[in-house]
Amino acid sequence: MSFEPETSIAERSRPERLEGERRAVFTELADRHLDSSYRLAALILRDPTEAQDATHDAFMAAWRSWGSLRDASRFDAWFGRILVNVCRDRLRRRSRTGSVVDISAAIATRGPERDLVSAAVDRDEMERAFAALDPDRRIVLVLRFYADLTVDQVAERVGIPSGTVKSRLHHGLRDLARALDPDQARENP
């Protein structure tokens, strides 16, 4: 049996210890995850400018701690956790400062116009209901129902027990339902 010194994936991926190759590996992974990361941040934060900043912050943080990633196949989960943490910090900071959520820029462009007034009303209702959610519940709803992560994956991504994820999902959906259906809120306060 032989023992090899434990090295990170970043170390192993550059046998000649070239800084350029280290950057190239990270750049490729970052490039591959850029779109999906920004979409996720935009859904959580509901502000395109903040989502850009959050995505950028997350990549910067990931780059700084790149050497700690020991398994390249774990990049998705590893980086996802960084991104979620950045978004959560921003949401909490925003809730303390009470800043206004501006989503107009994100809704500006859309392919063929949908002429259904009811669809537009539905969107507005959901937008308001979603913006009013507790930040922690908002994050697990996006991870579960947009990113299609399992409960356990959400738990890992957010760093909370699975039971807490289920509880936040339940309460998040309940809050949304009440906001979307005021009659229900009156009947089941």
């Binding site: 750049t27 920004y38 950028h56 949908r114 959901m126 579960r144 299609d148 959906l173 979307l180």
Partner: protein, 489 residues
């Protein structure tokens, strides 16, 4: 509004919102951020971003004094940050979204004949094929052991009896042998069959090459719709309601970047006319696990839209082109069966929960334009539905659903037998179809939605009335088959 309905609405809304971000624009917007200087400053002193600047400054006149007084210090700090973060800028380099790679160029002309000659040289015994009772339908099937034969039988739309055994050989098909033909469907006039060649299990270009053909039911003519070369095959072929177009997925294998000997598949959605002229609807089908076999590509009744079950969602395409709409499924469900309503305004989906050995079956109704989904019904009993759902699980009028499942109480390894179940879509009520023990999941409906046929190998074709589930033998398929298709009157 219950939790499931809220979830469906939230999913649809999240998907819609996510699509608002254009990837190419996003990349360049992010790339334009001066990452070296802006971010550290914001983090350090808590400055707002974007449009928040003006409001922030308006309430802070002292800022101007501070800015003037500290200008030199700020410039110095900024310069220092620029100098230390050059290597980080490479992280966000704008790149264009990669288009679908071009199909692998032909290595050595069309697909090699391979073992086709050997397969074609062996013919099935001349078995009599009889269709009993009302000869008001057509049956076509292919044989697993004699893979280049297509049999047709039945009365046909004109009432004339058709009975043909078509043997196709190397001179007609130029695809690797051994995989055989698959009968995919009939044109509505009963005159032509859509058939395919090739394998679902190819692992690389060497053993992969498949095409689509239109075959006259009497064997008199064969038209090749695709002209694929090694490494490309056409899968999931589906005839439009008028029989004039064929939708299919062009699956191309190409080397996986950064590996040697590994191959990756990419799917493009195509529509072809009867002459073989094709249009690409989507250069890259947006999922890794498109369900191309069952329920597969499903045309809307007017032939203007296509629904493709795709991972845990359904992608709806306009024909001949247009922005696709993605319909998301609730968590942990799979698209087991799919059908358009007769007026084309709704899509019905049957969905058992994934990963649960026994569960209730939910029928959902989607607006193909992307609106909210509604729950139509849910069974009260839990069943094991793993055996499968027929391609025509829903009746043409959408009132009934047929699926094969094990009775309640099933457990792996038990001495249990599956049954066909008929579900009233409106109420969720299930009824077992008698004498359907361990039948295959293939079912075909008569156009009026009042009856369907199923077949158990070595037994007659059975027609079942949905009203009282009574059964009538209507024909015989003389030997085992790899696929069969029914065309009602």
């Amino acid at each position: 509004m219950n939790e499931l309905e809220t979830e469906l609405r939230l999913r649809a809304w999240l998907d819609e919102q996510a699509e608002l971000v254009v990837p190419g624009e996003l990349r360049h917007r992010i790339a334009a951020i001066p990452v070296e200087t802006r971010q550290p400053w914001r983090q350090l002193i808590g400055l707002p971003s974007g449009a928040g600047w003006s409001a922030w400054l308006a309430g802070r006149r002292w800022v101007w004094i501070v800015v003037l007084g500290g200008l030199l210090a700020a410039l110095a700090a900024g310069a220092a940050l620029v100098g230390t973060s050059q290597s980080q800028r490479l992280v966000i380099v704008p790149t264009t979204t990669s288009p679908r790679p071009s199909p692998t160029p032909p290595a050595a002309g069309p697909c090699a004949a391979g073992a086709l000659a050997a397969a074609g040289g062996s013919a099935a015994p001349d078995t009599a094929l009889t269709v009993q009772g009302p000869t008001d339908a057509l049956v076509a099937f292919s044989h697993p052991d004699w893979p280049y034969e297509v049999w047709t039988a039945g009365g046909g739309a004109s009432g004339a009896r058709v009975e043909a055994k078509t043997i196709l050989g190397p001179s007609q098909l130029s695809d690797p042998g051994g995989w055989g033909l698959d009968v995919l469907g009939w044109t509505p006039d009963g005159a032509t069959l859509l058939v395919s060649t090739g394998s679902w299990f190819a692992t690389g270009p060497a053993d992969m090459c498949g095409n689509l053909y239109l075959l006259r039911a009497d064997g008199s003519a064969l038209t090749r719709l695709t002209d694929n070369h090694p490494g490309i095959m056409a899968v999931g072929g589906s005839l439009s309601p008028d029989g004039r177009s064929v939708a299919f997925v062009e699956r191309g294998f190409r080397p996986q970047p950064g590996t040697s000997g590994s191959w990756t598949a990419a799917d493009a959605l195509m529509v072809s006319d009867a002459s073989g002229a094709s249009t690409m609807l989507d250069p890259i089908v947006p999922c890794s696990g498109a369900q191309l076999e069952r329920p597969g590509l499903t045309w809307s009744p007017d032939g203007r839209q296509l629904a493709l079950p795709c991972d845990a969602s359904i992608v709806v395409y306009s024909v001949p082109g247009g922005h696709p709409t993605t319909l998301r499924m609730p968590a942990d469900t799979v698209v087991a069966a799919l059908a358009w309503s007769p007026d084309g305004r709704r899509i019905l989906v049957a969905a058992p929960n994934a990963g649960e050995p026994q569960d209730k079956l939910t029928v959902l109704s989607f607006d193909p334009a992307g609106g909210a989904a509604t729950v139509v019904s849910r069974t009260t009993e839990s069943h094991e539905w793993a055996i499968g759902f027929p391609a025509e699980a829903f009746s043409p009028d959408g009132r009934w659903l047929v699926a094969t499942g094990y009775p309640p109480g099933y457990s792996p390894g038990c001495d249990c037998h599956s049954l066909l179940y008929a579900m009233d879509v409106a109420s969720g009520q299930l009824r077992p179809v008698p004498a359907t023990t361990d039948v295959g999941p293939e079912v075909h409906w008569y156009p009026d939605g009042q009856s369907f046929v199923f077949h158990e190998p070595a037994n007659p074709l059975i027609r079942v009335s949905i009203r009282d589930l009574s059964e009538t033998a209507v024909g015989t398929i003389p030997y085992a088959y790899s696929a069969w298709h029914w065309l009602g009157p």
